[in-house]
């Protein structure tokens, strides 16, 4: 591999290439958001991956699934296979552990990671990922987008960093009991949610930037948490107002939540 390959990202630091290659990232969900993330990670030089997705490419994915072609929809190519090929085409020596299922079916490999980027489509799914990341000490970066309204559609989204010891998604006002209850009440009734490629790209790129900063420290910001809100109509990404006057430390997770759960016989 030529020394020129990463010369344009030398501003990340003299050891950045080695650091990026050393760490392991998990991406549960290889759809519209996850496919962007995996592609960018491969370009940047990440070598170690844990990937989860049990779905196959469908026609309706082609408007946004990075790397998918018409032939993949016809062949029902597994999204996991698509992601692996995308990585191997850029990083032939990458170590990929891929699981054609939800992460909940094979949670142990994810626990070896340092960073998890969640590209799931439910609040419940996000809560479960965050709990796992707090138990087994992983940085959790969450992305998601939605389109509200039909007459005047509004595109919204978020990029959140929830790290062990730092504020969680509940502290930051993103996850609430109300949202979880409303989602539970809607289960099975929601149809296909609107999804398009460019907001996914904005969210994924921002998340990848956060991950690279966690790995290299190039901005020297040393963030313990982050909650960025994407306004797809205005084309802006800005800090959520819920972070203003936020008290620390996290009120929802403690060291009591770390490690394998303990069942106490009564």
């Amino acid at each position: 591999m030529s020394a020129d390959r990463y010369s344009r990202q030398s501003f990340l630091g003299p050891d950045a290439e080695e650091l990026i290659a050393r760490y392991t990232v998990a991406v549960p969900g290889l759809g519209g958001g996850g496919s962007h993330i995996v592609q960018q990670f491969a370009h940047i030089g990440f070598q170690n991956y844990v990937l989860y997705d049990g779905d196959a490419v469908e026609e309706s994915n082609l408007n946004r699934l990075i790397g998918a072609k018409q032939a993949d929809a016809m062949a029902e190519t597994p999204k996991l296979h698509l992601a692996k090929m995308m990585i191997y085409d850029l990083q032939p020596h990458a170590k990929i552990r891929g699981f054609a299922c939800n992460w909940q079916e094979h949670p142990e490999p994810m626990r070896e990671c340092q960073i998890v980027i969640g590209c799931v489509d439910s609040y419940k799914g996000r809560e479960e990922l965050e709990i796992a990341c707090r138990r087994y000490l992983m940085h959790y970066i969450d992305i998601g987008m939605d389109v509200h309204g039909t007459d005047r559609p509004v595109i919204g989204g978020q990029i959140i960093q929830s790290s062990p010891g730092g504020l969680c998604m509940r502290c930051m006002g993103f996850l609430t009991d109300e949202k979880l209850a409303q989602e539970a009440a809607r289960y099975g009734k929601a149809g296909a949610r609107p999804q398009v490629v460019w907001p996914n790209g904005v969210l994924a790129s921002t998340a990848v930037g956060m991950a690279v900063d966690l790995v290299t420290g190039w901005t020297r910001k040393c963030r313990s948490h982050a909650y960025l809100v994407y306004d797809g109509n205005e084309g802006t990404v800005s800090e959520s107002i819920t972070l203003r006057n936020l008290k620390t430390p996290c009120r929802h997770f403690s060291t009591a939540d770390v490690g394998d759960p303990i069942l106490v016989e009564l």
């Binding site: 539970a184 009440a185 289960y187 929802h252 016989e265 009564l266």
Partner: protein, 115 residues
């Protein structure tokens, strides 16, 4: 654990063992080999009782697998708690100051009633 010993002992009458699990500040009760109502397959299953409000339900009973009963149920509660996967069907229980056993029985009643 916030529940009285008397109530815990009462729960033990319905299963092999009762255990305590805390997650996100909620105390849940693990019921090993809970005996299910007649007509259920399997007849016995591990379960997790959440006796407090969570996810829009005043209480919830999760099972380690989906249960086949006499009536079709909306299994809308596939969740991960305590690093295990659990399944619950939609069943609202509204009781006034119930004991743990009363909550459990009210949820198990979901297998016995058509609606």
């Amino acid at each position: 654990m916030a529940y009285s010993e008397v109530q815990i002992e009462e729960l033990k009458g319905y299963c092999k063992k009762v255990g305590a699990l805390t997650e996100l500040g909620i105390d849940l009760l693990y019921l090993e080999a809970l005996r299910l109502p007649a007509g259920c397959t399997p007849e016995v299953c591990d379960a997790l009782l959440c006796p407090v409000a969570k996810d829009g339900y005043s209480s919830r009973l999760y099972f380690s697998q989906q249960i086949n009963g006499r009536f079709a149920r909306n299994w809308n509660g596939t969740v991960r708690i305590g690093e295990k996967n659990w399944y619950a069907f939609s069943w609202k229980v509204e009781l006034s100051a119930p004991t743990l056993a009363q909550i459990l029985l009210a949820h198990l009643n979901g297998f016995a009633k058509e609606k």
